[in-house]
Symmetry: C2
Subunit: 494 residues, 2 copies
């Protein structure tokens, strides 16, 4: 008789492109988000937590980013009794749900509605190194405020936020541009063909990578890229391309000069003039609040998102240098972006509602804080009370209860206590600062042994025999002095 | 020519069974979870945030709860190039992912591994009133600790947690039972038929609802339930059923009496004796740490989850009374449950790993805190700086910048400023404590008007004309005193 087939064991793996976060990875992120929430709250923004699941209908199926029109969402069909339920999907950002929330609840929400949201979003993308399909976003948006005072406020808040989480002034720059200025430039160029406008927009988007001369070539005949492939150009003449290049390179020595250069670049375009006026207003408002251009800068070279947004566009860049994976120095780069977008709610209600907002790249900002030593580093684990006599577990539990009641993080070793070496190895794995030992003999004499594990490790590494004798890392103290002595050691370690 | 068909507008709705959380609903939950995390951390537990998405293979497709074997998960199939990718699903709890994480990372994790996790989980259930398909869980588990000292620790931690979040001692009780004792009872009864054992387990699960006499009927011939339907019984004789009822009602005046009753109920069963010994050990350990039975109680009438767990079982109940939706007094009831379960990791590795843990029903606990007045109540909004002159936005922005820099939550009105009444209505909707007014005339004289909106509302409701005159709710102060005066008013309001 054949044996019944065993079901194979399931693989213990996250799905491709997903990962787990452990210990300080979780708590450092939570701490940072808590600090950001405090700033947002002080600016009058209200928390919103929408559901992770939306109808595909409400979400719109694809990402709005022109760069990635084909990247998708995780979606599935509800099974109802007739076998044809709604299609549901995981949210891919926090903006699309905001549109749905605002349209659904507009009668109950204050107008304008300032809200912040933080949480995971999901993208059904091909995963790559350091590129995950679930990640955190942290957004603040103002819905229903047409004035660029709302945009200026977002920029000020972004600047405050970066400083509050630990990026010092001088190590970041919030840069501001305006899509309307670009529209003015295109108008002045006489570019009315939509396809050609899109080509120009896409080319401008490469300014960060290919620079002025690269954009010049790409607007004209084309360009040989680094891989040796020839990229066809938009086909503009040098004269035609000139206003675009003037726009991109119009940054001057101060806001006044930049604005003046921009006015030249837009010619007689009305929408262009409106855009430059808006930038001027933003600069004035921020200046009045004390945000000089070492913190927030009008900068026409900011092109990321210009295709998506409809008015002011902002980007926060960290300006300090790091070494990349190949050991080359480079600027840390962008950690946040945003801008003004129309038609957020129009899809649902038919009415245009102006909105502006910003999204912080939580994981990149955390990486930056680690880089700056503001988070991370060696983390101290709990005090470990070892188990010398398994029948006296109550004694050991009483010790940790005393320590915890004094606010000291601590735990009893709960594995098999037979091998004492394993207990010390465990304490080591936990980065414990202190181990407590109470064998039967100590119990009788009313004492305990306290091991300073940090000092012990240092001595083991460096000390001469003399020093070893002089600076014992293990002390015997009366049982009644447990809390006081542990606290003393913890204080000496910090 | 026919008009091109318009795409109908999407509906602005959450999917059925999902909801959004606004403002304090979000922040109160975050605060509570933060406090819980602090207690867990002090006990040596480490944070874990696993991905929301798991393979169906790793998750197991269905909930382990015997009550609800058919309730499902949200699942979908990955599309790979061949059109047959993995099935993925949203996690339905935080325990199944813990099993996967432990099996996947066991070489890197300390043993035992104490971890806590908090976050949303998803259930593909029929939604009902107050029953949502996305909700928060908050779990702590110890994996790899066979000793019931780990269970006692979880109970102590649960007791501490409830007090830290704001449930006073006396308003809650952690009750402890043990599946092994029940197994001993079943053994003593000679029940070896699996189907009949399951029937008895299911019947015991109804003890909370139908009480002793109900269970007696259901173990015997059957019972007419409240709706008039006849429920078939298990078919045991009175004698056969007696040990089960003795078990359920063996709670005595103290732990010693309860344990003695239990020893009688299990007869000569070895596994039963082991179970009673475990309860005794737990009682001893907790007593040594100062947890008397006004906080943690050995109580054989706890039956929830007895079918699922394999050793000690715990449940935290809030004992104060509330009025239900029909105006009847009832106990608030359970907010947390847990216990010891085997084979957590065995599905993956083939090796049995003992584990014990607890899950807090976050939303129920929040509801309890609201009931106790520990969270909620009137929430003060931001100070609102009104806009009298839209060309002087910089002045108003400067005011809020000053207020914020002093730590005072504040905002400029960013809607259309034309109608001043709308600005005050907005301040009202925001629950603003104070509004600031600076028209052109005030600007010239270097003063501002400060409106105490809380006092204003009180006066409008109650005051006589005399009082109205004596206690003005609007003050004129020099512009330079903005921050000082606002702070003074905020202090007087709190």
């Amino acid at each position: 008789m054949a044996k019944p087939k065993k079901t194979p064991r399931p693989k213990a793996e996250t799905p491709k492109g997903f990962r787990d976060y452990f210990g300080t990875e979780v708590t450092e992120r939570a701490d940072m988000l808590g600090k950001i929430a405090q700033v947002y709250h002080r600016y009058g923004f209200e928390a919103l937590e929408s559901s992770a699941v939306e109808t595909v209908e409400a979400l719109g199926k694809f990402l709005p980013d022109v760069d990635r029109p084909n990247e998708g969402v995780f979606a599935w069909q509800e099974s109802d009794d007739d076998g044809n339920g709604d299609w549901l999907a995981l949210r891919y950002d926090l903006t699309a749900p905001l549109a749905r929330v605002y349209a659904q609840h507009q009668n109950d929400l204050p107008k304008p509605y300032r809200r912040y949201a933080m949480g995971p979003v999901w993208r059904n993308e091909k995963p790559g190194p350091g590129r995950f399909r679930q990640f955190y976003q942290c957004d603040a948006d103002t819905v229903g405020a047409p004035s660029v005072a709302a945009d200026a406020e977002i920029c000020a808040m972004l600047s405050d936020t970066l400083e509050v989480v630990g990026i010092p002034r001088g190590d970041y720059l919030v840069r501001v541009n305006n899509r309307k200025v670009l529209n003015g430039v295109l108008e002045t160029m006489g570019l009315t063909d939509d396809a050609q406008r899109d080509d120009v927009l896409r080319t401008i988007d490469k300014f960060d990578k290919v620079g002025e001369s690269g954009v010049r070539e790409l607007l004209g005949k084309g360009r040989l890229d680094a891989s040796g492939a020839y990229i066809d150009g938009v086909g503009l003449s040098d004269d035609q391309a000139a206003p675009v290049l003037a726009f991109l390179t119009s940054g001057g020595k101060d806001a006044a000069e930049t604005l003046s250069n921009l006015r030249a670049a837009i010619g007689r375009s009305a929408v262009g003039a409106e855009g430059v006026d808006e930038l001027e207003t933003i600069a004035t408002l921020l200046d009045a609040q004390g945000y000089a251009d070492d913190r927030i800068l009008i900068d026409p070279s900011v092109v990321r998102g210009l295709g998506y947004y409809t008015g002011p566009v902002f980007e926060a860049e960290l300006t300090f240098e790091i070494f990349d994976e190949k050991g080359r120095k480079r600027q840390f780069g962008s950690v946040s972006g945003g801008g003004r977008y129309d038609d957020l709610v129009k899809r649902f209600t038919g009415q245009s509602v102006p909105a502006t907002g910003v999204s912080i790249g939580v994981d990149r900002l955390l990486a930056a804080l680690r880089e700056k030593g503001r988070v991370g580093g060696q983390v101290t684990g709990p005090v470990v009370v070892t188990v010398m006599d398994r029948d006296r577990m109550a004694d050991y539990q009483t010790m940790v209860a005393e320590l915890r009641n004094a606010g000291i993080r601590s735990e009893v070793y709960l594995g098999n206590p037979k091998n004492f070496g394993n207990q010390l190895k465990y304490a080591d794995k936990r980065n414990s600062p202190v181990a407590i030992i109470e064998g039967g003999e100590e119990k009788e004499r009313g004492v305990i042994q306290i091991k300073d594990l940090i000092l012990g490790a240092k001595i083991a590494e460096n000390a001469t025999l003399e020093e070893w004798k002089e600076r014992p890392s293990q002390f015997e103290v009366p049982r009644s002095e447990l809390v006081a002595k542990v606290r003393e050691i913890l204080d000496s370690q910090s």
